[in-house]
Symmetry: C3
Subunit: 335 residues, 3 copies
């Protein structure tokens, strides 16, 4: 048996994803206890977390297991990620040893590592999470890397099914939103893939210059087509939102300006109107379209407070579903 | 059934507090196991902790549950607490979402958030902990806010009962102590309320300019009177200590100079003699009065080492009782 | 019954160490479950950790217990270690209270505290870990102090037995290695003691000026002699490696320049060839000698990547054995 990793949702067969979502739904209904007795999940957080850490720790505990949270550079050693380095500088531990050792203590290794600027042609390879998977003998779970956040994707898919019932041919709008910083593209790419998995008509609405990576569009398009849906990219936000069943506002930085935040900021200036308002919610399908977000969200910047606090908001259910989706994933991977 | 929070000891009926203290005593005697199976406590530490974190984690574990420790601004996102903000600055997550989401993962949410200077007329509203309680659908436990530290208060009350037996009409001295910094008033206010709950004669001894908030005095006075005790405020330390059954030295900053540490320091200069010495312990009731402190304590600054290490010191029992008091609280709230 | 601490391997009778190693081996073979139900281990990390924290947490969990990780100066209070201090400076909590309080919550207290420079004649007393042991009423476990890392020593001994079978009269080379920083001597001293416990012929190979503390040599020599082995100190690395059964490269700073890193660096310049290469591995006994390291290791600086990734490397097994050795230790101490 070869080792299975969960680095990106599209790496797994759709049937297996559906199976995980089914277990997740049963967990949420309280139908599954146990299954992870004496199982250990090691988590490496190279970047901050609230939902991911709390939901993973809860998921392991609820089924009898235990999650360990390590924070390289704070309580744990600073990690070297360059494979061929001569380590005479500041970093103390190589990920090769970290991955191998944690694979001996734990039944799975979960890693969060955001892109750190520099060159997108390098970062887009997602080499850190992929090297963790390469050198760890146990399954590696992506808790958000440069390119993907597949646990969020699972929760997004679970939430869309809960809220919309049949998802086929329904309209999912991935909406670029203004934000004071240039954020990564892992979440929007994963959300698009999640909606594609459900056979939805995925519309990416973004201003010129804010396209996702061509590989992300290809992954969304291929999966959507295979599952009976489609991909459209537009800069006409009002047209995109009209009749939408779900809107997922999310900010991300211009990949054409990756690693150059000052240039990027100039491009973003003047786009503050890309914000999910109550008025925009009213033009969704029957005014009952749902508003989604991975959280943390900038209130009154990405989404207005009245939308977040209103009846169309699914963001808290979506966050709760992180817990159940991950219970399904962990039971499948190491149960 | 409405949600119950534990934000301040005086918010709960004295009978319920007594019930919690009774469960706590039974826990300490080893009479209660289990009761928190599959229960999760999420803890948010906006400020440091040793006893609170270790005792809460132990309390949950001993009864079959699990506590998660999150640290916003370190391993977790920096939190925004202003309800009406446009979040285009540095803070990443709003407490509205944090409170709602953690309420979905956990059975209770415990929060530590110290005052951050600024304006006492704002800080005295204790708005951060109260907003956590407002937006979280599960019980919220105060692990020390701007105004209260009720888990410490429970442990204080438990310790006083253990050490003194009948507490009615016995003399409890809350003694201001010198300290290099202007500290918050949450602990002394909560200690006074704990002693008032026990019907003790509460004497607050402090130099001029170091009064607690008028609301704190009112809360202590009302509860003490209801329970058969009294409140006296004095600047005559020697008279206060004479015949005392318990002395609780604790430093706090001048509320009249809140948020202006340089001015406050000038007021405090020359008060270094407000320190609990062995000589002062000898003038307690029969020389057998107990010395209490919430810890951490500045050795040889707030309390002399020979008092801390001597037979009158109750500080380690008091710290141990944090564990048992919180076991009682958690069993009552989410058991 | 007096309290037992585990501060240094040589503090315990060799028979008891052998007993712990036997339990450890049985744990690794899956023969022991349970034994730590409702047991709590409090861990204080004054310095970073990956293996130690993850393996301790896993060890407690696998047997039904729970480990708490506290980080003074980050999430926990900054600790004062001077016993006679007047605490009117920056440190907030004294280790006397910390040790006493954690001894009330937990069944054992484990502490990591590296030397902080200054004067070796002071640091060599290992006063911080010894004061934790003095003031805590429960067993104290050393997770690496100024002088010793005995949990690493247990794992080293376990690994040598696994890899070499009979260890008596086999050749163990503790090899100084170049490193950009002046590191502590706790690990090399403990590795030498571990090999001495096994009755091996211990050869310390280091450049002039890089001797371990005379007490370390004495401890290694006495234990090795008692167990049928020997101690040799040399600066002839090639002769030392010739026919070796195990090589343990490790960097450490010159004790004669302790606390003066700039002077120390000058002494170390020009010693970069003290590095474990594949060529050197070939001159071990039959070319099959094992390469060991406590990790984290500087790749291509202390040990070449091809050695770490090659068939002679025991470093990952050695790290795994931290887990099992500590299971044995914890079952013996608090089981």
């Amino acid at each position: 048996m070869t080792k299975r990793d969960f680095l990106a949702m599209e790496d797994w067969e759709p049937d297996l994803i559906d199976h995980v979502l089914e277990i997740a739904a049963r967990c949420k209904r309280g139908e599954i206890t146990g299954g992870l007795t004496r199982r250990v999940l090691a988590m490496m957080f190279m970047d901050p977390s609230l939902r991911t850490r709390a939901s993973m720790e809860t998921a392991m505990f609820l089924h009898g297991g235990h999650a360990i949270a390590l924070e390289p550079g704070r309580g744990s050693w600073t990690l070297e990620t360059d494979l061929d380095v001569v380590m005479d500088g500041a970093s103390v531990e190589h990920i090769i040893e970290a991955a191998r050792v944690l694979g001996r203590y734990a039944d799975a290794l979960a890693v969060r590592v955001f892109p750190k600027g520099g060159d997108w042609s390098v970062e887009r390879e997602d080499h850190v999470i992929r090297n963790f998977a390469r050198f760890c003998e146990k399954p590696v779970i992506n808790l958000e890397s440069s390119r993907r956040h597949p646990c969020q994707g699972l929760a997004d898919a679970m939430t869309l099914r809960e809220q919309l019932g049949e998802t086929q041919e329904k309209k999912f709008v991935l909406m670029w939103a203004w934000h004071p910083k240039a954020l990564p593209t892992a979440v929007p790419a994963s959300a698009g893939i999640a909606a594609a998995h459900l056979g939805m008509d995925v519309i990416v609405a973004r201003p010129p210059g804010f396209d996702l990576d061509p590989d992300d569009y290809r992954a969304i398009d291929e999966l959507a087509t295979r599952r009976g849906g489609s991909l459209t990219v537009t800069d006409d936000l009002d047209d995109a939102i009209d009749g939408a069943h779900a809107i997922y506002p999310k900010s991300w930085g211009s990949l054409g300006h990756f690693g150059r935040p000052d240039d990027e900021r100039a491009l973003r200036e003047g786009q503050r109107d890309w914000r999910l308002t109550q008025a925009r919610m009213r033009s969704t399908e029957g005014g009952r379209g749902i508003a989604m977000h991975c959280l943390p969200v900038r209130r009154n910047v990405e989404i207005d407070g009245e939308v977040l606090d209103g009846p169309n908001s699914a963001v808290i259910d979506q966050a709760e579903n992180r817990l159940h989706a991950q219970r399904g994933l962990l039971l499948e991977l190491i149960g």
